[in-house]
Structure formats: structure tokens, C-alpha cells
């Protein structure tokens, strides 16, 4: 017994006196020493931080077998078993960098990503809103990025030698069938969606993931905001009309209801217009957005909107040599839902669906033209994060699209319609070999019941990080899309159109400066053609068209050089020709400019709490066709130029005053000519020059945010 007591005392004694010295260095694998690393023995307080040379040394009273642990930010922790017996221990610890996707190489070929997750973003969500000239239009802001061609008379996206209908827009994974507002012919359109709705944007101008089909040129992926933070009421007063938005929160959910009314009438009375409006554009819209969290990680998002708009414009009818009324009534109903949930640790399921019903009623003289589009999209994507370096994805989707057109003249009624169901499945894997190299490979299978065609498309992208600041990226893939609605309504004897993309990009980012250059080649084949004036006959169409587009895009952004200033410069060189639609031969298409330049500058004036933006754009002359000439697409427009400015003033934390003017110097803008469809008595096709609705456009606005008090919001407790 006594022995046991002595033994016990001995242990206690021992733990009080014996000390072991532990020293050594901490290094990063292939990357020098690590100062400030935490070296310690778990279960004790004993340890030290490494000095500037990565050295450490400390004493411990613990004896026997123990573990030495080393921790450092951004590195895997290091453990080593040691035996503490009073003799000095020396340890050299080599730490491996943690694999962090946010810091690893990213697939950047063809892709512009905007969001707040990464530091190295080329553009942020805020940029989408504050770019002068865009005046809060998502598509307008995107047109300051390389790869796009500005078509002032359209306002839509034209990407890397592609026509505007080669671009698709997705919200939370579901297709938006009608992303643009209906406008009068030859006036610029705007997107239907408020950019404040989105927390992140991915604009891919080529080589995109196998998840996306039915787009030959580009996809725009918009991700909506998650739960709002508080109850609030937003009031906006713009020179074109007011808007009100109310947000209410409940337990893990929220609803935002928005109503707005726009009328360009008062503005158009004030500012001289190039066209005569009988009834200025007027529209009213309402939207409801619901967010609900469920379980641990589930998130349900529903967005639904309805808008109605109309106008009446006096347009010159070149065939009859008189002015006629052009009336348009549009209504658009849109629902977009998505549900995202984690299934266990590694699996994520995303279900998204959208429905659109869009109606255009156009009337001129005694002719009525009705167009009804209804579109549905359902998609399920499962992704499996196999490891931090491997992600597998797979999914299936169903698109349904019905288009009805009715053409009524006093004498006749012509009605056409078509319905297409497309089914698609895709699979894709993303593999990081290391922090420096990543490959994404995928395939997509698509079937169209209307065309009775199937396509299988491979997609491949890779990115290689050369050093901490720069990387190469390459993308290759086949892309298929159904021919335009205008043709499908008359024939189902067509095949998918196809484009093959080859993209190489180089990106360098350092100290808030980014340089991107991109080289690409696009090979178009199976483009649909109308070979005969008899557009209503199925036999007039075939897929014999083809073409190419190649070019260089350069993007430079610098947030550093000018204090409180931030600018970017985009330049695109484009060489493209194609033979499609009713082209008699291969020619440069009318939407393409050889040179496109955009310079965007933003400056924060702290003293007067103002954010100012200035933006210059240039597009070299485009071609158009003069039916009086022998040469097809032989005429050239003048170059397009604009200089826009915007000013935001934070009057109070919750009140912003905003003003913007486009085309300040009043550059002459022309978009070619419109011709009569038949020659006049002297055998000449009469023409009129296409010009914008007005030389300049200005807008003034006031945005007020009111947060409601007297609720369970935490903020109230301060007051």
C-alpha cells in the first residue's frame, strides 16, 4: 500500500518538475518558412508561435508520449508523435497548403463571373447597377464587357459574332423565355428584371458547361438574392414613373411584393423626340418574390411577375408613302421557382422550373398581328462533391414551347402554330489535379420531338494556373440550338443549328488590376436558310447555311491606380461571315462590328458622398443591305459612339438621389436604312434612315428605403 502512495506521489512530483525543451522550424512545402504558426501540445497550454524565420522553442512539463501539433492559416494542420522524457526534441514541420477552391485556379475561358464570394472577381454585382449608360439594365451593363457588340437599335446581347437569339438567360437555373421587353421596331429594349434582384451573375460568352443547351453563343446565369435581412419598404420615384416594394420577414422566410408604373409620356413632351408617338410607352407591372428556408439547408425561391404595356407610334410606310399607326399591346406572365437542398454531406439537389406566357398584339392600319408564346422548363440537377477536388454533376430537363401567330387582314386570316418538346440530360465532372490545374468534362444529350432530332454534344474545359497571379484557360465544345421561331412555325423539316467553340484565354490579376485576353474561333454549321420568298412553304427552308466568327477580346480593369477611382477598358476585334436566313451568299452579318471599345470609369467622391460614372463606347461601322445595289450587305453605317454619365448621391443612409444622361455630346447615331419591300414606279426601293428615338436620354430618380420599427427585428432594441 505504501508503495502505491509513494508511486502516486512520484507521478505528481514528476508532473511538477521534469521539463522537456521542444524546438524546431515550421516550413511550407516548397514555399519557405511560416512565421506566426501556432505550435503546441494539445491538452496543455504549452506551445509557442514561430518567429519571422519560422523558428519556435518552448518547454513543457508533460512527460511520456504526446502529440505536437502545428496550425497555420491556409494550411493543413500538422501532427507528430513525440516522447517527452527530458531530452531536447527538435522538429521540422512541413505543412501542406489547404486545398481551397476559392483560391484555386478557376475556369475562366469565356466566363465573366460577378458575385461577392471571391476577391478576384473581374466585375461585381454592384458594377451591374452602377455602370453609366446601362441605367440599371443588366443587359446594358453586360454590353461594356468584351465579346459583345452594341446594336443600338436592338439593345439585346450579340455575343462573339452570334445573333441575339443565340443567347439564353437563366434565373436560378430555369430558362427565361422572354428576357427582354417588347419594344417598337428599331428602338432599344431593356431587360425585364431589376438588377437588385440578383446576388450573382455568370456571363459565359463561349465554351460553357454541359448543363446549358439551346444556345449557340452565350448564356447569362442570374442568381437571385437569398433571404432579405429585414422588413422594409422601398419607394422609388423616377422621371418615368414610381415603384414600390414591400418586404416582410417571418420565421426563416420572407416575401417581397413590388408594383411599378412607367409612363414615358411626360418625359417625351419635355424632350424632343425623333419619332411621333400617338401614345407614349406605358406599362404597369407587379411581382411577388417568396423565400423560405426549410430543414437545415433547404431553400425555396419563388418569383412571379405580371406586366402589361402598350404604345402607339406613327411610322412611315415606305410602300404606301404615308404614315401609319403602329400599335403594340404586350402582356407577360412569368413564374420562376427553385428548390435547393443538401442531401447529406456531399449531395446537393436543385430543382428549378419556369413558366412564361407572353402575348403581343400588334395593329397597323387594318392589319392585326397576334403572337402568343408559352414556355415551360423543368430541370433537376444533382451534384455530388466526391472530394474537395472532384465534383460530379448530372441532370435532366424538359422544355416545352408553344408559339401561335395569327395574322388578320380585312380579307384573310392566317394562323400558324407549333409546339416543341425538348428533353435533355447531361453529366459533367470537375477534377482538380492540384490547386494549379483543373479539368471540366461533360456531355449533353438532347432530343426535340417537333424536329424529331437527337444531338449528343461534348464539352471540355481546362485551366492552368501559371503562378499566383496568372492563368491560362481553354474551352472546347459543340453547341446546338433549334432554328428560330420565325421558321419553325412554318416547317418542322429542319435540323438543329450548330456552333463549335474554341476559346483560349489568359488572365492576370495582381493588386486589384486585372488583364484578360481571349482568342476564339467559332465554326457555325447547319444554320437554317430561307431559300425562296415563299416563307409559308415548308420546302423553302433547309439547313445549308454556315459561317464562322473569330476574334480577340481584351479586358483591363484597374481599381488601384486612381484613389477612389475604378475603371475598365474592353476591346473586341471581330471577324465574322455567315450565310444564313435569306442571305443569297456568304456575307458579314448586319449585327457585327469589327471593332468594339468600351471605357467605363467610376469615382467615389467621399466628401460629397457621391458615386459618379462615366462611360464611352465605340462600335465600328456595321453593314446593311441596299436592295437597289447589286452587292449584298454592301452598305456601311456610320460608327456608333456614345458618352454616358451617371451620378448617385447618398443624401441620407436610406435616401439616394440618382441622375443619368446618355450620349452627352450628342454623337450622331444611325443604324442603317430601312427599305420599302417593293420598288416604286421608277424602279427604286425607297428608304429611310434608322435613327434612335432621341439624341439623348436622361433620367432622374430618388430611392428611399424605410425600415419598419416595432417588430421583432433586432435593430429596434437599440433605439
Amino acid at each position: 500500500m505504501k508503495q502505491s502512495i509513494v508511486f502516486l506521489l512520484f507521478i505528481i512530483n514528476c508532473s511538477l518538475s521534469g521539463q522537456t525543451l521542444i524546438s524546431g522550424t515550421v516550413k511550407a512545402k516548397n514555399d519557405g518558412t511560416l512565421p506566426g504558426a501556432n505550435v503546441y501540445i494539445p491538452g496543455t497550454y504549452d506551445g509557442a508561435s514561430t518567429d519571422a524565420e519560422g523558428r519556435f522553442s518552448f518547454k513543457t512539463k508533460k512527460t511520456g508520449p504526446a502529440v505536437l501539433k502545428v496550425e497555420y492559416i491556409g494550411y493543413e494542420s500538422f501532427s507528430k508523435e513525440i516522447n517527452l522524457n527530458g531530452t531536447e526534441i527538435r522538429v521540422v514541420a512541413e505543412l501542406t497548403e489547404t486545398f481551397n477552391k476559392l483560391e484555386a485556379v478557376t475556369i475562366s475561358a469565356g466566363t465573366f463571373e460577378a458575385g461577392d464570394k471571391k476577391q478576384a472577381n473581374t466585375i461585381s454585382s454592384l458594377d451591374m447597377i452602377t455602370t453609366a449608360g446601362a441605367a440599371g439594365d443588366v443587359f446594358g451593363a453586360l454590353q461594356t464587357l468584351p465579346g459583345t457588340t452594341t446594336n443600338g437599335e436592338s439593345g439585346r446581347l450579340f455575343v462573339k459574332g452570334g445573333d441575339s437569339d443565340e443567347s439564353q438567360t437563366y434565373i436560378d437555373g430555369a430558362l427565361v423565355h422572354t428576357p427582354y421587353n417588347s419594344t417598337a421596331p428599331n428602338t432599344a429594349t431593356r431587360g425585364r428584371f431589376n438588377p437588385f434582384m440578383f446576388k450573382g451573375t455568370i456571363f459565359s460568352t463561349g465554351g460553357y458547361s454541359a448543363e446549358y443547351g439551346q444556345a449557340l453563343s452565350s448564356v447569362l446565369l442570374l442568381n437571385t438574392n437569398d433571404l432579405p435581412e429585414q422588413n422594409q419598404l422601398d419607394l422609388s420615384f423616377l422621371t418615368i414613373g414610381p415603384e414600390i416594394a414591400l418586404t416582410r420577414l417571418w420565421n426563416r422566410g420572407a416575401v417581397t411584393a413590388t408594383a411599378s408604373y412607367n409612363n414615358l409620356g411626360p418625359y417625351m413632351k419635355l424632350v424632343p423626340q425623333n419619332y411621333e408617338w400617338k401614345h407614349a410607352p406605358e406599362s404597369a407591372s407587379g411581382a411577388v418574390s417568396i423565400r423560405q428556408k426549410s430543414g437545415k439547408s433547404g431553400m425555396l425561391k419563388i418569383y412571379s411577375s405580371y406586366d402589361k404595356g402598350s404604345f402607339s407610334l406613327l411610322q412611315e410606310d415606305l410602300d404606301q408613302n404615308k404614315n401609319i399607326d403602329y400599335n403594340l399591346h404586350n402582356s407577360n406572365f412569368f413564374v420562376n421557382t427553385s428548390y435547393r437542398n443538401k442531401l447529406g454531406q456531399k449531395w446537393t439537389s436543385t430543382t428549378s422550373a419556369s413558366f412564361t406566357s407572353d402575348k403581343d398584339d400588334v395593329a397597323f392600319e387594318e392589319t392585326d398581328f397576334n403572337k402568343e408564346l408559352s414556355g415551360f422548363h423543368l430541370k433537376e440537377v444533382i451534384s455530388d462533391e466526391v472530394s474537395s477536388k472532384i465534383t460530379l454533376k448530372g441532370g435532366a430537363e424538359w422544355f416545352n414551347r408553344t408559339l401561335k401567330q395569327t395574322f388578320r387582314t380585312p380579307a384573310d386570316t392566317f394562323a400558324y402554330q407549333y409546339t416543341n418538346n425538348a428533353f435533355a440530360a447531361f453529366t459533367e465532372g470537375e477534377f482538380y489535379a492540384s490547386k494549379k490545374f483543373v479539368v471540366r468534362a461533360g456531355a449533353r444529350l438532347e432530343y426535340s420531338d417537333y424536329l424529331n432530332r437527337t444531338s449528343l454534344t461534348p464539352r471540355l474545359t481546362a485551366a492552368w494556373k501559371i503562378d499566383n497571379n496568372s492563368q491560362f484557360s481553354a474551352a472546347w465544345g459543340w453547341f446546338y440550338q433549334n432554328p428560330t421561331d420565325d421558321y419553325l412555325i412554318y416547317t418542322d423539316q429542319l435540323d438543329f443549328e450548330r456552333a463549335d467553340h474554341y476559346t483560349f484565354s489568359y488572365q492576370m490579376s495582381k493588386n486589384d488590376r486585372t488583364l484578360r485576353t481571349e482568342l476564339y474561333y467559332k465554326d457555325y454549321s447547319h444554320l437554317s436558310k430561307l431559300n425562296d420568298p415563299a416563307f409559308y412553304l415548308a420546302e423553302s427552308y433547309d439547313n445549308s447555311g454556315d459561317g464562322y466568327a473569330r476574334g480577340v477580346d481584351v479586358f483591363w480593369r484597374d481599381k488601384k491606380t486612381i484613389k477612389y477611382g475604378d475603371y475598365w477598358i474592353s476591346y473586341s476585334f471581330l471577324d465574322t461571315k455567315r450565310n444564313y436566313r435569306n442571305y443569297p451568299e456568304t456575307a458579314i452579318p448586319g449585327f457585327a462590328s469589327r471593332h468594339n471599345l468600351a471605357v467605363v470609369y467610376k469615382h467615389w467622391f467621399g466628401k460629397i458622398r457621391s458615386y459618379a460614372g462615366l462611360n464611352y463606347k465605340y462600335s465600328s461601322p456595321r453593314v446593311y443591305n441596299d436592295p437597289n445595289s447589286q452587292e449584298f450587305n454592301g452598305e456601311r453605317t456610320i460608327a456608333y459612339q456614345t458618352l454616358d454619365m451617371s451620378w448617385s448621391f447618398l443624401y441620407r443612409p436610406n435616401i439616394i438621389l440618382y441622375g443619368a444622361v446618355t450620349n452627352i455630346p450628342g454623337f450622331r447615331q444611325e443604324f442603317g436604312k430601312r427599305y420599302a419591300s417593293v420598288p416604286d414606279d421608277s424602279g427604286i426601293y425607297r428608304s429611310t434612315t434608322l435613327i434612335p428615338g432621341s439624341g439623348r436620354f436622361f433620367i432622374l430618380a430618388c430611392f428611399i428605403t424605410l425600415t419598419k420599427k416595432g417588430t421583432d427585428n433586432q435593430l429596434d432594441k437599440i433605439q
Binding site: I5, G36, Y40, G47, I73, R609, L650, K717
Partner: protein, 213 residues
């Protein structure tokens, strides 16, 4: 004999436990004294690391994790050049912040520190993060004041946030000077629960008062 042995054994374990507690008090006390010598990022990192070691061992104490987060937040404020580093330090702080908000949801100081943490995130990129983190910081401070409206650090951080906003909007800050004076005058009325509990911030409040003159 047997009983003697058992009682001796209990006595020893109690002593061991007490000496363990004592070691905790001693280590914490030494480290808290270390604050005064800290100037650079490296100093605070070394100090933060010692708190991390104690936090690792004392799984039921929220104070070591609190000071660990505090050190790393200060590091992000001191670091001038590299926004990536600022965020990396705050990523470390965030882990401890999350731990203490779960461990000690009834402590005003925990949420005052959380508010300071959100403000630090905001400072990294005010243009892009202003709205989101300003709101989060306000909510955290509201929670701290809800628990204990007399907590001087919660009041200090609220005052700093409010002054920052007022300065930004070009408003008069003299009304805050009065608040700062009241805060300093009454600072010592707030008695920390123990010598190890947060007791910092008076010099910062005095700094505000000084800048008012």
C-alpha cells in the same frame, strides 16, 4: 487504511483539478497582461495563438475563444496592405465567434465582439460590403444591448458605428461627444464578473472624448 487511501486519492485529484483551474487563471492572467505589449500583427498573432491553445484545452470556457477572436479582429484592422490577409485573419476569428455565440448566448460581450467582427468585414471593402455587413453589425449590437444595455463595450461599438455613419453623411458629431463623455464617466461602474472577463475599451472611449476637443 483503505479509507485513508481513498480520501487521499480524492484529495489529490481535487488538488490536481484545482491546480488545473489555477493554471487556467494564471495562464489567462498572463496573457491578458500581454495585451499591453502588443503592437504589430505578429504580436497579436502570437498572443491570439496562446489564447487558441488555452481554448483548445478548456472546451467549456468561452473567454479564451473570445480573446482569440479579439486578437485576430485587431490583426485585420492593423493589416493595411492586403485585403486577402484581412479576410484570412477574419476567417480565423469567425470560427471562434461562431463557437462563443453558441457557448455563451447570454453574454452581451460576445455579441459586442460579433458586431466588431462584422464591422471588420465591412472595412475590407466598404463599397461592396457596406450594406450587408453594416446591417449585420447593427443587428449584433442590438442583441448585445438587449442582453445588457449597460455593457460599456457594446455601447462603445455602437457609438463608433453611429459616429462613422454620421461622419459619412456629413452630420454633426458633437452629440456623440456627450455620449462618449457619459460613457467614460460611467465606465468604471461596470464591474466585470471576474478579472478574466472582458474589460477593455476605456482608452478607446477616452480617445473619442479627446478627439472632440
Amino acid at each position: 487504511m483503505k479509507t485513508t487511501l481513498i480520501s487521499l486519492f480524492f484529495a489529490l485529484t481535487t488538488i490536481a483539478a484545482m491546480s488545473q483551474k489555477e493554471a487556467y487563471y494564471q495562464a489567462m492572467g498572463e496573457n491578458l497582461g500581454g495585451y499591453a505589449q502588443c503592437r504589430s500583427v505578429e504580436d497579436f498573432q502570437a498572443l491570439g495563438n496562446t489564447f487558441a491553445r488555452i481554448a483548445e484545452t478548456e472546451k467549456n470556457e468561452w473567454l479564451p475563444a473570445y480573446y482569440h477572436a479579439h486578437c485576430y479582429i485587431i490583426m485585420s484592422f492593423i493589416e493595411q496592405a492586403d485585403p486577402k490577409k484581412k479576410d484570412a485573419y477574419l476567417d480565423v476569428a469567425e470560427k471562434s465567434i461562431n463557437r462563443i455565440t453558441e457557448m455563451a448566448p447570454g453574454e452581451a460581450d460576445v455579441f459586442a465582439l460579433q458586431a466588431m467582427f462584422y464591422t471588420a468585414r465591412l472595412v475590407v471593402n466598404p463599397m461592396e460590403r457596406g450594406q450587408q455587413y453594416g446591417m449585420l453589425s447593427g443587428q449584433a449590437i442590438g442583441r448585445a444591448m438587449g442582453i445588457d444595455p449597460t455593457n460599456p463595450r457594446a455601447r462603445l461599438i455602437k457609438l463608433q458605428n453611429d459616429m462613422g455613419t454620421a461622419q459619412f453623411y456629413g452630420k454633426d458629431v458633437t452629440e456623440f461627444c456627450e455620449q462618449a463623455r457619459t460613457l467614460v464617466a460611467g465606465w468604471d461602474n461596470f464591474k466585470p464578473v471576474s478579472p478574466l472577463h472582458p474589460n477593455w475599451g476605456k482608452d478607446q472611449a477616452e480617445g473619442i472624448v479627446k478627439s472632440c476637443k
